[in-house]
Amino acid sequence: MAEIWGEPAPQPLAGNGDDTYYLNMGPQHPSMHGVLRLLLHLRGEEILEAEPVIGYAHRAHEKMAENRNYLMFLPNSSRVDYLSGMIYNLAYCQAMERLLGIEVPERAEHIRVIVSELNRISSHLLWFGTFLLDLGGVTPFLYAFDDREEILTILERVTGSRLTYSYGRFGGVTQDVDALFVEQTLAFVARLRGRMPDYHALVSDNVIFRHRCEGVGLIDQATALRYGVTGPCLRACGVPYDLRRAEPYGIYSRFDFEVPTQPAGDIFARYLVRLAEMEQSCRIIEQAVAALPAGPIMPEKQKKRFKPEVGESYFAVESARGHFGIYIVSDGSELPLRLKLRTPSFANLSAVAAVLKGTMIADTVAILGSVDVVLPEVDR
């Protein structure tokens, strides 16, 4: 039409000689969690090929680790995955404790379990909210954030931070918890259980939600194995692999909890697994609170300088997103020779490209959301 008005015709949309075209989704896109860029090859709304392009949030954590001593890397650890910073922070502490041979007091171990599980619930709640937001449901998002706020308040009272808790220290934790913390934690567990029926009525049973989720974005066991997919995404295809069970760290072997699995491997299975995990975390919290002993939160003798023996160590924990491993190579000095972070989102995201093929644009958003990718963790 422009030619009629005496203007040059606008550039045609990318023509490939066929009916397909490329679409850059991200890194600035409302539903790209963080800064993922998806290069989509599309025919209409159908995805022929999807290539995730990452690195926009690369902060060189591993390089930083090599230039700082072991203790100075501590605040970095909770920033790798800011949504479950507590779990990562404590994982690094535990890895170092094993490397250095430090005994952790009982009380500190229990506190660590409680705050880690609270953090896991908060991460899952945030996932729940943002996932629904990806599907166009805004209200569940705010309900979930309301509940999550409670956790953040509890954790802030203890750690002083709401997101990047540098709460752990080699050998224990920085601050002790009090009776009010215990009271608030139990109150939160009760509150969350009270909210679950609402969530199910509003979301899980909703016919629109079911249609969006069931049978979409299948990750089967073979795919999971080949890509090293872990966490709720793995348990949603029927593999009961949870490091708290498979490779118990800390005092997790003492607690009675289930590893929820689902057979289907679709988005809805991942959703159900995460909701069930919140309940299991509540159970662990209750047990840990009941068993919380009195005593110190740091070992008697505290070292000032940390020089591990020469050697390598791999320590893995179950984060909210899956298998988080810390591989430390020590050359006997105060700086690590190499500190590699094996982050679950990295592996999970690499599998997403295979899953996206043949789906629609709307599914892309749902699948990405359901895998629960945290981009800073992918990029590190």
Binding site: R68, L71, M72, F73, L74, P75, N76, R79, T139, Y143, D146, E149, T153, E156, R157, V158, T159, G160, S161, T164, S166, R169, T174, Q175, D198, A201, L202, V203, D205, N206, V207, I208, R210, K304
Partner: protein, 178 residues
């Protein structure tokens, strides 16, 4: 028939969802209207570090040992110190924190040998330039610095005389505690 059942079941599930939102419509909002309602800060709240004012000595007790400077993963602390005449320990003359770089990890507070570092409770600092966040932690202590040095010197002199190691010594060597 099954189609109809599925349709009705679907409609029922939508009704349930509408019920949840309707229920929440009549509940009290949880919003805190921030500038009108100030948040309650927890005791553990972390903001930029500050120097503790020990009542016993009427001043901070930074001995410019550089431990916080060395442990800071963000390299945001700058400390200089001199040795006041007559005293055994050093005394900070410069203590700056670049809050724009600080990651609030608390390692400096952990390593401080005299426990003179604490978190402050400021949460609403704003600025247009990065250098506005370089805080001079000695500001509140500048006015009393000369007096403190004089007191400390006197106390040190008195302490040197073995008989009169009295309460005045506390001015020079404040009790450790936060």
């Amino acid at each position: 028939m099954s189609v109809l059942v599925r349709l009705l079941r679907g409609i029922w599930s939508l009704m349930l969802g509408l019920g949840v939102t309707l229920k929440n419509l009549f509940r009290r909002p949880v919003t805190q209207t921030y500038p009108h309602q100030k948040p309650e800060l927890s005791a553990a709240f972390r903001s930029a570090i500050a120097l503790v004012n020990f009542p016993a000595s009427g001043s901070h007790d930074c001995v410019a040992c550089m431990q916080c400077v060395n442990i800071c993963p963000s390299f945001c602390i700058k400390v200089e110190g001199d040795k006041p005449e007559g005293l055994k320990r050093k005394r900070a003359t410069v203590f700056e924190v670049d809050y724009a770089l600080c990651s609030l990890c608390g390692l400096c507070i952990d390593v401080c040998p005299t426990n003179t570092l604490k978190y402050s409770k400021t949460y609403d600092d704003v600025g247009y330039r990065r250098d506005q966040f370089v805080y001079d932690l000695l500001t509140p202590f500048r006015a009393g610095e000369a007096a403190w040095r004089e007191r400390a010197r006197v106390a040190a002199v008195e302490a040197a005389q073995p008989a009169s190691a009295g309460p005045a010594a506390a001015a020079g060597e404040p009790e450790v505690g936060r």
